[in-house]
Symmetry: C2
Subunit: 330 residues, 2 copies
């Protein structure tokens, strides 16, 4: 069905009203209300994704919608916050189709069910360039309980969830269709990495464990080494990680084995949406157990000490690409 055949009101009624929270009144009002639970702080975050900048213009709209939502839910998970809901400003390009907008709605609906959230409102505007999605996500923590980026303390260990570098390698494969063959990757490994780029897996299942155990935390969106540099700067500490302890997926390991310099891509590339956490060493076992129980996994990869930088130890040729094994983000 052609784009011009659906107006804003029909769009809202068809696609978005079924996604609305109770307080959003079927999206027929100017605003929504939300009644916070006593003894909780709200956690607020806002990330926008833009066609041609944060995703490819030919990515399917259900995946784009889920990515927009998930990059925000990833921030909440890193803060130890349980997600509640979100608002969405949608910039629609000329010539969009009803099939595309239905796919977008289906992607949001699927993720709302997965993450237990609902829609608190938003806006639909014309976008002169391509599709844009600006999401504001709302979560809850116990009063005073938001885990901060600047909370790492000397003596803590550094823990990451899941596996690192998959999305950056997936992006490299997406940008260079011949790369998978040159690396000798299996189809399964190639598809795994491509999918990890397309669709983040926010670690909301670990929000309670983050709140219980982490002293500091952030999600890894701009690359592990650079993001740890931000954590070190925000915390006023030094962070040193061991390249050999950074967990790689089988697929990423296969790529790095084939071309050792891709380790630098894995350690510095963006879009992991895993969690980087600091915690007292005594808390690590319990957090790792929670991560294993959730089927996500986690690993201790380094330590926090007094000082003011982030560095990577290891005997890998790729580490030279980071500048003598150390990467300064600032």
């Amino acid at each position: 069905m052609a784009a011009g055949s659906i107006g804003e009101f029909e769009l809202i009624a068809r696609v978005f009203a079924p996604l609305a929270a109770d307080g959003a009144l079927g999206l027929t009002d100017d605003a929504a209300f939300y009644r916070p639970r006593p003894g909780r702080d709200l956690v607020l975050t806002k990330d926008e994704v833009v066609s041609g900048v944060h995703f490819f213009a030919d990515d399917p709209w259900d995946a784009v919608a889920r990515k927009a939502l998930r990059v925000n839910l990833s921030d909440l998970a890193a803060k130890g916050a349980v997600p509640v809901g979100y608002l969405l400003a949608l910039g629609l390009p000329k010539g969009f189709t009803v099939e595309e907008i239905d796919a977008l709605g289906a992607g949001l609906a699927a993720d709302q069910a997965t993450y237990g959230i609902s829609l608190y409102g938003g806006d639909t505007v014309r976008s002169p360039a391509g599709l844009t999605l600006s999401v504001t996500a709302i979560g809850e923590v116990k009063e005073g309980g938001m885990v901060r980026r600047g909370g790492a303390k000397a003596g803590d260990v550094i823990v990451v969830t899941g596996t690192i570098g998959d999305a950056a390698l997936g992006l490299a494969l997406r940008l260079d269709a011949a790369l998978a063959t040159r690396l000798g990757l299996s189809d399964a490994h190639r598809d795994y990495l491509l999918d990890r780029y397309l669709l983040p897996r926010p670690r909301g299942a670990l929000a309670a464990a983050v709140a219980d155990h982490a002293s500091g935390g952030m999600d890894i969106s701009d690359g592990l080494v650079g993001d740890l540099g931000k954590m070190a700067a925000a915390s006023g500490v030094a962070i040193e990680i061991d390249a050999d302890r950074v967990p790689l997926s089988e697929a990423a390991q296969a790529a790095v084995t084939s071309d050792p310099h891709l380790l630098a891509t894995a350690l510095t590339g963006g879009d992991d949406y895993e969690l980087a956490l600091s915690m007292p060493e005594a808390e690590a076992a319990a957090f790792l157990a929670a991560a294993d129980a959730a089927g996500i996994g986690a690993a201790v990869i380094g330590r926090v000490s007094s000082g003011e930088c982030a560095s990577v130890r290891g005997d890998h040729p790729a580490l030279a690409d980071l500048g003598a094994g150390s990467y300064r983000h600032f």
Copy 2:
């Protein structure tokens, strides 16, 4: 100073960190926290403005920033909500200058002071087309106290704040540089109308009075008649207004006197950002007194009855332009 000479981190530190709420931690974290006051509901709204769609590409960035904020604050005022803060996703076009971004920050800072709000976070992205601002605004009402669009009841009166149609006439003047001369408008009247289009005046000063007196409410953003049609539909009532009672500014009155058909522009054009409220007749005097005390003014312009449409009474040639005096929005 050229655009490329300022990076994202410098931009945040220079322009946005000084605007941050306490809970936003200097914008050095992934998220902000907000501790709701006991016994309050939050009111959430999100409106985006896009260059070339909601404002002119050559509008000054301080005015654009204030407009983006104010269209959201207008929604909160209509809900009877006291504003608390906002999040901002900023889409920056190639080639922006540091002077422009400083102007944007200055506009936000001025309005934060005016409206008693602060910044709870956001995002800065590249925008392939022009400047975009996606704002999520947060306000507070007493628990259960959000004034709803669907709250109008048969027997209520309809009240509007301020004056109607100024912004639509200002837009007409902006689009047709010769119009002011053809209408014989004074420079002061022309400038007044242009400014009313450029810069909305959200009626947050009346939020408490709205909460105390209104049964239903919305802000007038898409034109008085159309928006009252939405209120009638959401409330399941009929709304009839009297064209002669709709308050016009001196400047708008001068324009309509010169060309009576411009009354249709005033009654149906957008961007008023005044409030349209329903309330029991017994409450109207107190609300009007509050609006006068705030220097905003308000007027009773019509009535609510059982039925299901919005109509305009009056003996004006322009009303024929609305379709036999009645304008159906749906």
